[in-house]
Symmetry: none
DNA sequence: TTTGCTACAATCAAAAATAATCAAAATAAT
DNA sequence: ATTATTTTGATTATTTTTGATTGTAGCAAA
């Protein structure tokens, strides 16, 4: 039997039953569990099913629709980003006032948040605001102009909005991290908002996967010395001399 | 059995029975109490149920109920609303500064807008903001707390945000229209925002299909005399004595 | 309050499932 | 026909899940 045949049999099975175990499939397909696992991995990489311990479950169309809705512009390093997001989510306490910067990495952070937290969230991301309230969390959005490409609120009005707040923690994304230039991003307007947000926060956490290191964009919005960087893999230890680094174990 | 299967069995059980004990579940699922406890913790962390001593209870599904409510509401009189929306969209000129109120009818208004207009839009609706920029229009969102059920920005911060603006036109939805009480809505916070928006606008247009007439909700946010009402079918001509009415031909 | 009972989280060892590895089998290429 | 490549199933070490156990905490009756 061709592997493609097994693939479609597995998908059909899942569409009907919603969940299946590896053992079940091995027996049903008359093949070994090793092969079934390989098939499940392949289908998972294609995004055709959810792999879970013991087997697989059908993809929830609702989730799919939402994923589409969030024009996830960079499907790069998704797993790494999720890792950072999950760790960052654990840093939020009930009494925190948290600023969430717009961006794809921080959106995963919002997804990873516990629905039970009583913290207060402020964001400049349209998608972030929507997700936060869908989780039943208390959320504020800052006012101002909306940038088309990133769905982020920016501009003078946004900066003015931010002045009112005092955050205990703020979670930022970034385009580049370097020892010399600190945290950098290509858009001036966004950089100004980021800068203002950081300056109103007691702690600034930066979520940056390993690809962001030693990259420099045109505008610096924060210096390393004032931030705590959360990353998946630190390739150069010299960063440790300039900032607090949390390397999340996989 | 996959843990995901147990999860959904527990959720289904709870949806039906509203409450369940650990012992019950262990027997029903044919598993140990330890596992059931672990499952309940996991589901609690996901926000899918309330953990209580001895077991768990179904979550108060306000969110879901309201979402459905909004959806069914938005499905009512769709054609009539689209008619109003299309007409209202023609009222926007390139040099206008337009406020768009949150709500299902005004969302259709946004959909009906020409992507070529150079008007400036300000809104308190998350969905509205998103749609506006997706159309490539210049859009601002006001800052403030986000209301879960309607995805509208409300609260003191929202009102403060509005103070800065001077609108040439504002487009409002409403729950009720009556000669005596004017325009009314059930939510105080939303009413205050609507009121503030109207008071900063040169003209206020109210989009109201025929079902809204002679309905009164608890809070009045504007009087008929100060508005221009756009509707699909006017059943009682006495309204013409109190306000400017545009009856859109279908 | 105290007492007794039950439920709980934490811990641990057994069981199950997994990824990684490798040799055999099947398939394709020369 | 022979060689190279891919696929498969078995084996291994590792990880995850599970159920039993234990001490602690919560609850209700005395």
């Amino acid at each position: 039997m061709l592997s493609e045949e097994r693939y479609s049999m597995i998908i059909n099975f899942l569409e009907d039953k919603k969940a299946v175990t590896v053992t079940e499939l091995a027996k049903w397909l008359g093949t070994s569990e090793s092969t079934v696992r390989r098939d499940l991995n392949a289908l998972h990489d294609m995004g055709k099913l959810n792999k879970v311990h013991g087997g697989a479950t059908a993809i929830d169309e609702k989730v799919n629709a939402i994923e589409e809705d969030v024009q996830s512009k960079s499907l790069k390093n998704v797993e790494e980003k999720k890792l950072l997001a999950r760790y960052a989510a654990t840093l939020v306490n009930d009494d925190d006032v948290v600023y969430v910067d717009a961006g794809t990495t921080t959106l995963m952070f919002v997804e990873a948040l516990s629905p039970n937290t009583r913290a207060l969230f402020v964001t400049n991301g349209i998608a972030h605001a929507k997700k936060l309230i869908q989780k039943g969390l208390k959320a504020y959005i800052i006012g101002g102009q909306i940038k088309l490409s990133t769905e982020a609120v920016i501009g003078a009005e946004a900066i003015n909005s931010l002045r009112k707040y005092n955050f205990t923690k703020c979670f930022m994304g970034t385009n580049g991290i370097s020892v010399e230039s600190g945290l950098t991003t290509p858009d001036l307007e966004e950089a100004l908002v980021k800068k203002e947000a950081c300056s109103h926060s007691y702690i600034t956490y930066v979520l940056a996967d390993h690809t962001k290191f030693k990259t420099v964009s045109s505008i610096t919005f924060a210096l390393l010395s004032r931030c705590c960087v959360i990353t998946d893999k630190l390739t150069d230890n010299k960063f440790r001399d300039h900032t607090v680094i949390k390397e999340v174990e996989q």
